[in-house]
């Protein structure tokens, strides 16, 4: 299917329905699809399940909690162990108003990779003997204990890349591949926010990080600055 190019993030995310699950790429400031998040905030869609590395660290995802659009979060970093400030997510979590599945970061990444790659699950030593193991199958291989972790997919992935061409091929900059490159493979509809859109052929094939077949929608936006709070 050909990629659709948008000039307005609101139009690019208008496909999202209530009750959807959405993956969000990014690691704090690096590669966060902030324009798409703000557009989703304005859209008012609700009862959303968010999957993201972090929420409430200065990222725009916390806006979605402020407007009560979120019912559940799957993340690696969502609750602070110290410090005074609480995000909207934390306040709602402590009142039992929003669910949280906390996942070790490597397991989160690998579950998304598996989800995008047709892998039925994988064995990891991470989390053995901890709260993370609760309810999970423990398997022994050659005398070592592992947890069986299952793949993760979503209805949508919102990702951020540096450049796209008009076929949806993506290039990331710096440390912004993080979860973007993985989530691009693991959702039914992938929407990419990029800083520049260039003509097909102007990106070298060896330079492309995410092949365009994974991408459904591209929208050019000026980046929004995010800082760890």
């Amino acid at each position: 299917m050909a990629v659709e190019i948008f000039s307005d993030p609101a139009r690019a995310v208008s496909i999202v329905q209530n009750d959807s699950s959405i993956m969000f790429g990014g690691f704090v400031s690096a590669g966060s699809p902030s324009n798409l998040i703000m557009a989703l905030h304005n859209s008012g869609q609700s009862n959303l399940t968010l999957m993201a590395n972090n929420i409430g660290l200065g990222d725009k995802l916390d806006l979605l909690c402020e407007s009560r659009q979120v019912s559940k979060v799957i993340a690696t970093f969502a609750i602070r162990a110290s410090g005074g400030r609480q995000s909207n997510f934390e306040q709602q979590y402590h009142k039992g108003e929003v669910g949280l599945e906390l996942v070790p970061q490597g397991t989160f990444a690998e579950r998304i990779r598996a989800g995008g790659a047709g892998i039925g699950g994988f064995l990891t030593p991470t989390g053995v003997g901890t709260m993370v193991a609760e309810g999970k199958e423990i398997m022994h291989v050659k005398g070592k204990e592992y947890l069986l972790e299952l793949p993760l997919r979503a209805d949508y992935a919102f990702i951020k890349a540096y450049k796209a061409d008009t076929q949806g091929n993506l290039v990331y900059r710096g440390a912004s591949k993080n979860f973007n490159e993985l989530m691009a493979t693991a959702a039914d509809c992938v929407i990419a926010e990029v800083e520049q859109i260039v003509e097909v052929g102007s990106l070298r094939p060896s330079q492309i990080h995410t092949p365009g077949i994974f991408v459904d929608r591209v929208v050019q936006c000026d980046p929004v600055e995010i800082r760890w709070e």
Binding site: A30, R80, A81, G106, T107, M131
Partner: protein
Amino acid sequence: MADGLSRELIALRASRELSDGMIVNLGIGLPTLVSNFIDGLDITLQSENGILGYGNILEDDFEPDFINAGGQPVEILPGASFFNSAESFGMIRGGHIDVAILGGLQVSSIGDLANWYVPERGGGSIGGAMDLAVGAKKLIITMAHITKDGAPRIMNECSYPLTAEKCVDLIVTDLAVIQCQDQQLTLVETAPGISVDEIINLTAAELIIDSNVKEMSL
């Protein structure tokens, strides 16, 4: 009792465990300070958000896509590489990281680590800690020896939820350096002005006193 080490001096002491050629991951908080003490060493720093080969923290020059796992903008050194989080944690779980230095809340007598969940606060976050604790070849924990209320953090069994079992190799606190080997804790160094007895009194686990126990040289 004399004051223990400052956070900077804990970081300095931890940095002494590093040597040329090592691939090192520094956790958020106190461990980040270790990077101030590795000038002159040929060490490659890995940041789990997808950088191998970063340098100084750049206070004034914020580039959102060039940050470490603590969200701080960092210098990207010649020879550095960027990769996604699955590859990054493959590096970590796959045994390609020589040393991880993380903060701690509690360490048990058999080297269990608790460093992510504070029951009094009703939560915490895992981030990369569980993978690093399981995957790094050597795990060094830097932390205060006791809580603000004076309770020991090194104890027979952690009361906080675990990050990983039997993973700690060395603990560097404001009072002592303690080795975790073969599920036993051995006191190897004391902070200046701190006695072995004081450390024993502030530790709620059995401590073997190394026959060569000495004062830290800082």
